[in-house]
Symmetry: C2
Subunit: 405 residues, 2 copies
């Protein structure tokens, strides 16, 4: 097998959220009858249950009609006036200034930001430290850019607050010559956030060992507990020399259909990202860029309500989970995920995930997408219709009992 | 300089269309007064002068309102119903069947299609044959994916019809172990199309030497001379085993602001492209995907009128060019470009391009973006307001006289 064939053989997509239809049919060890209920796709959020920021469509239409060609053809890094607007909002949000001309790029979704940032920072053979568990595309991107994965664990199951980041493992990784460290905060899939001490340690160590950092803060506007402070690495006194923060309005704000994201930080890396954008897809859809103007300008109380709605769903899901022996999840501190631990099963994780779809009309993402060791975990995006989500989780837990070893 | 720094140092973007604002200020050898006139940006088309397909905005809005979450979250390769629609249209257009499930992917612009196709086909160190001159991103993509460029010339200045493809150079390139061949038809920037014999030779040689081919047919709906047959490689009896054809509605149809493209062909490569899409930007904006439904379903006569309008602009531009000694361009056979040869200048090409912007309010793309040897050429996208374009070209030719060696 040649180099490129081998590379793509490794690069999986069938278990990625929303791609389940691509999976090959296989004989499943079916047991019992189907469990009826409203189908729930926990692989991603339901933007019909939690609608986009009000006015987004209107802003899009205005951009199309009034902006015309100027809206269609923006600079590759995004329209100047929109960068101006967003730089101010992001500076205020993250607690440190952002230069709209040199330190910000608009990207096709936060995925686009992540791809461009990693493509701009990973040289062939470079060691890249990632958290386990963390967002599945992180691993794939390191492999695609011919980097070498250096996993660093969080011990979130052994603590009640914050991530339980293994700081010794982090320092050892950095000592081993890691060039880039990447972490999501709140963490995907566990929903834990990093403590001020943990983030400060990341900053201090990255500075000490000259490690570049990508901070994925996609879910940082959706935090459930005011008593738990959220720390933006970029606002700390001790921070890495090279730091890119990424965020987007696809999740909490439900604008995923527009594909909008943003990356901000070190100007030299933003420049590289734009060069890469120029050969990847030119720019974030010019017309869609208008909808950035709704982000961080939501109607009074809208964001608070959205977060409260999700907290209420989270609480009810956890109540369901706690009723079933062998099922467990740590309460989500931020974001829309719960990472659900299952009892030991007599089927494989992939079989269980398929059985859930076939017999219980629920789609979940296997834990192994987030690290090979998470063979008894599944991830659920609970940004769903409240009642349907509660019933869906109940069915998953019933299935776990049915297929228990 | 480390590997990744060197890579991005090579990857230029400042001369790319629309990016001119990024260029550093430099002392220019100014001569004479400014030439007044309506500013024209010939680096890309003017979608205000040539508006998007009627109904595109309405289709978008309907997709947003009616489609909701199903429109926002499509499979990474694009929404099934839209692939179904488009596969039929593309099969009819190109003269060979397209399986909507396995042989088509919707991409963020044709640039997205090109990036995904090249990323799926170029292994590190692979030789890639490209035409000179041809679309500037081709060269950059080969370099980004660590391939090795093998240029093959077209001798379009020495012939009155078709491209003048150097078939011997092509065969020698293929014999030397080229893995991938990439060409745009109509050619960007010259606007020539390949003859049936030339395309047949590409198919025969690619088959013989097992070379994969990417056929960039972005402008293939905008042909000016019915007497010159256009040949789709994919419809020929002798064609490469691996063939991807790319196209999109950003140019002739002016839908660039939505960022829509398509790649169709070998199913195994389409699968790779989707895997790559999953880590690049997930999918083409779900909401924007609706606008694909207007493409190939334009109102009666709309496409014919658009092509006729552009032919009329082309004819008038060429009349202007022919008045100025040392200025020359071959009549465009397809697409919206003229590749304008300038007389020998006493300033560098990059200086001339800047002088045109500063003194004549016209933006053009330097020929060196299309091959290092094109130091006395500039590319113009003439999809502009008719009168403004005529006057703009006149100013460029005046400038060429002023700065003649």
């Amino acid at each position: 097998m040649d180099y490129i064939t081998a590379k793509f053989a490794k690069l999986g997509v069938d278990n990625a959220p929303g791609q389940e239809g691509l999976q090959k049919q296989e004989e499943l060890p079916l047991q019992g009858d189907p469990i009826p209920g409203t189908p729930v796709d926990f692989s991603h959020g339901d933007v019909d249950a939690h609608k986009p920021i009000p006015g987004s469509l209107e802003t899009f239409v205005e951009g199309y009609v009034v902006g015309g060609g100027h809206q269609a053809y923006t600079e590759y890094r995004g329209k100047g006036a929109i960068r101006q607007y967003l730089a101010e909002k992001l500076a205020q949000f993250s607690g440190a200034p952002v230069n709209p001309d040199s330190e910000l790029i608009l990207t096709p979704g936060t995925q686009g930001a992540l791809f461009l940032a990693m493509g701009s920072l990973i040289g062939r053979g470079d060691k890249v430290a990632i958290i386990e568990p963390d967002y599945f595309a992180n691993r794939k991107l390191v492999e695609f850019f011919d980097g070498e994965l250096v996993p660093v664990p969080i011990r979130w199951t052994e603590t009640e607050r914050y991530s339980g980041l293994d700081l010794q493992a982090l320092e050892e990784a950095f000592q081993s010559g890691v060039k880039l460290f990447l972490y999501s905060n709140p963490n995907n899939p566990t929903g834990v956030i990093y403590s001020p001490q943990e983030v400060a340690a990341i900053g201090r160590l990255a500075k000490k060992y000259s490690v570049a950092v990508i901070a994925d803060e996609l879910y940082s506007r959706q935090l459930f507990d005011k008593a738990l402070p959220y720390t933006h690495l970029r606002a700390l006194p001790e921070r890495p020399d090279t730091l890119i923060t990424i965020i987007g309005p696809s999740k909490t704000e439900s604008l995923s259909g527009f594909r909008l994201g943003a990356a901000y930080g070190s100007a030299d890396i933003i420049t590289r990202m734009e060069k890469l954008q120029a050969i990847v897809s030119l720019r974030t859809s010019g017309y869609c860029q208008s909808a950035y103007l709704n982000w961080f300008s939501e109607p009074q109380g809208w964001l608070e309500d959205r977060v409260a709605d999700h907290k209420a769903i989270r609480d009810d899901l956890l109540k369901v989970v706690s009723k079933y022996p062998g099922c467990w999840a740590r309460p989500t501190e931020g974001g829309s995920y719960i990472f659900l631990q299952l009892p030991q099963l007599k089927v494989t994780l992939n079989q269980f995930v398929k059985l859930c779809r076939v017999q219980a009309s629920v789609t979940v993402t296997p834990g192994t997408e987030f690290g090979p060791q998470f063979t008894s975990w599944v991830r659920l995006n609970f940004s769903q219709d409240h009642q349907a989500a509660v019933e869906g989780v109940d069915r998953i837990c019933q299935m776990a009992q049915r297929y228990r070893a």
